[in-house]
Symmetry: C2
């Protein structure tokens, strides 16, 4: 799990190189990647190194970046950033295990730099030869790290597709990692679902998230191809107690009862794959479910307030459960209204999704709002790009099955879906998914 690269992909080495020359380590790192990725150029002039160092310093000053290397991948318990660019990739035909391994190394190297506010390589956007295309596409020059996290996942089809073990890793597939079962209300577009690999890029500046996905797509050239991608804004969850609970496009607070980053017990129980879970290479990892949920917002907007609140099970203003109290008050499902009916209806979203009615099942949500323009009827193509992390995909399946009687179902449609194994974080000097090649 800690296979050594022939180079140290840490950005610190490059920063420390100073104006006299570009770090050889950084160059080697990209050279390895370029071997499998036509189009990335190698080369540096001493004169450009000073400006690279200056830029890195400038970008770092504006925000404290998140570490790329570590026990867990960043972007799961990290305080939810404001913007998302999510991308799903398929490995290209005629690629082999060496291609997959080199891609994961190159992606890790690039991610370890970009998350620190650095260009994708040591020569970057303008530091290479003028006679070669720059390694970095340049639109993040001068921008801070902006809280960027880059989180990688492996889909079921990476391990086996149409019965073929393309990369010799079928035996390593986690038992629970399979295409999600159909759910009531699914209207999935296969072109917006699945994928051999996924990348979740979150940042407080959308240009930084877009820059990350663009450059990782470019690095994948010849090995993996973008299958579908999604931009999101307005995080719909929180992962720390001091984050305000944001609102989804139904106008309700969303994610009040999320698992928080400081709740180590809940994370171990519900989010992180334990060492005793199988397979061993997933220990410290998690499973990511993505669901693109179209909201029929024009229809929702015509629903009376009391009905909206009945459907959600919370008040729209404060987000308090209909049983009373404040936003953070635990719902009291035994409370009755004046007519003697449950104050929180049995078909309400908050009740159906609550651990009390799902054998204690919890998930860590990390979704974003999206607007993709509008359809021919003049209705906004808008909704929730739901993202959740859990110790097993079965947790999501349990909750989603329970939501088959959700009163909210009338106003939503699931149009995209995917599930990926999210390996543990890469150890310093290694790369994400190294456990597949141990």
């Amino acid at each position: 799990m800690t296979e050594q690269l022939s180079h140290d992909p840490g950005p610190a080495a490059d920063r420390a190189a100073g104006p006299s020359g570009v770090s050889r380590r950084g160059l080697l790192g990209l050279a390895i990647g370029a071997a499998g990725a036509a189009g990335l150029a190698i080369g540096a002039s001493a004169g450009s190194a000073a400006s690279i160092a200056a830029r890195a310093a400038e970008r770092d000053a504006a925000a404290s970046p998140y570490e790329y290397f570590g026990t867990h991948q960043a972007g799961i318990t990290t305080p939810v950033q404001d913007h998302l660019h999510f991308a799903s990739f398929d490995m290209m035909a005629r690629t082999d295990a060496a291609d997959l391994q080199s891609l994961l190394k190159d992606w890790s190297y690039a991610a370890s730099r970009m998350t620190q506010g650095l260009d994708v390589s040591a020569t970057g956007a303008v530091g290479g030869s003028p006679e070669a295309p720059p390694d970095d596409t340049g639109e993040a020059l001068g921008l801070a790290a902006s809280g960027l996290t880059i989180t990688f996942g492996f889909g079921p089809t990476l391990f086996e597709a149409d019965g073929v073990d393309r990369f010799g890793i079928a035996a390593l597939r986690p038992a629970g990692l399979e295409k999600l079962p159909p759910f009531l209300g699914d209207d999935l577009d296969p072109d917006k679902s699945g994928g051999d690999l996924c990348i979740q890029a979150c940042a407080d500046d959308p240009q930084v998230a877009v820059h990350a996905i663009r450059n990782l797509s470019r690095i994948a050239f010849g090995r993996a191809k973008l299958r579908w991608s999604q931009l999101g804004f307005g995080r719909t969850s929180r992962t720390t107690a001091d984050q305000q609970t944001p609102r989804n496009l139904f106008g309700f607070k969303d994610g009040t009862a999320n698992i928080l980053a400081d709740d180590a017990g809940a994370l171990d129980e519900h989010v992180w794959v334990a060492a005793s879970d199988q397979p061993a290479w997933m220990a410290g990892g998690s499973y990511l479910v993505a669901r693109k949920i179209a909201m029929l917002i024009e229809t929702w907007d015509r629903v009376r307030l009391s009905e909206q609140e009945t459907i959600v099970g919370r008040t729209k203003g404060t987000g308090a459960p209909l049983s009373g109290g404040r936003e953070t008050t635990d719902p009291d499902f035994t409370a009755k209204d004046a007519a003697g009916a449950p104050a929180i209806p049995v078909t309400s979203h908050v009740r159906l999704a609550h651990p009390d009615f799902n054998d204690g099942t919890r998930i860590l949500r990390r979704g974003y709002n999206f607007v993709d323009g509008n359809n021919d009827l003049g209705r906004l193509d808008a909704g929730l790009f739901f993202l959740s992390f859990q110790r097993s995909p079965a947790q999501f399946t349990t909750l989603q099955k329970k939501l088959s009687t959700d009163a909210m179902r009338e106003y939503i449609k699931h149009v995209g879906s995917g599930v990926w194994a999210v390996p543990p974080g890469a150890a310093k000097g290694s790369y994400v998914g190294a456990g597949l090649f141990a």
Copy 2:
């Protein structure tokens, strides 16, 4: 031009109303709107007014809002915000001048509130009757005004479409307001072009911009229908000297030589319609051109750095002209390179678009980057949503014709287009476009 509404749509009245009751003025304002807009509910409980006032205070505290009323509409010289939601609307069949007038009144009232960080009406998202759909969709509850500006425009087809003067305003059409001529390289999608009306919503929080367009679309129900819309991020221009020049998705600084908000002489000469210009109702207004420009970024990314810089006419790193100096140094088009050729090539973008080669023509740019997912080839559907304001559409046409020899043309494709007359700002107590009904 200053026709009085039967109410004062200023939000100050609502804020001043205090906890004892909702401002009658605000209620009347929406009542007028609701007469033509089925689905907006009227009603308020005294108990909810306190929470409305508290929310308004909370939202105002976080940012100093821009005034909606004034000589010019906001959103033109306003320091460019980080996010855009742009929407084009068509008036619906069988609407008449009264519908158009009522729509403009209702939009102005709502815009005057939302730009101040308030709900779309005095009863708002949760202050109305529980037995009615809320006036406001709610997703901006708790968010600050976030620098929101809402800018309205009137397309050529509003004045006359297929030879029909639907609203009795054909005689008021500005002579220069007509569909833009075809340009070399156009590949326009008619469904993403034109529109009777447009709204440019800019804010530093995308959820606030989306909330504005969503609620204005809702208010238009039965009168106008969303034709197309576009989200943008990463402003590609600056309108004040202290704003950093941002980068477009080619990785270059864009908008260095833009007209700045404090350059009153240039604004009067190039941006604002003068009182002596025709028609009189446009005095203090401007003309808005929108061009959705797809960038072939994967192709661009394979171009060597020196060639990229030759195409742009500036260095990628600092943005200095190729004739030398710093970003803000004036280009020297007489400078020669070592081989005796012009240091700034004659086909470079910066030279072709420069006032020196266009009889002094200048425009105020206000574009945004966009990424709309990806195409079937796995390429990002990305580019520049170009927006410019000018005293006459002819200024844009002059520049765009000159760009027919632009070396950059190989890497871009214009896929959407529109032009709108942007009337002057509404006077306090009036509404945008009142001059059409004087």
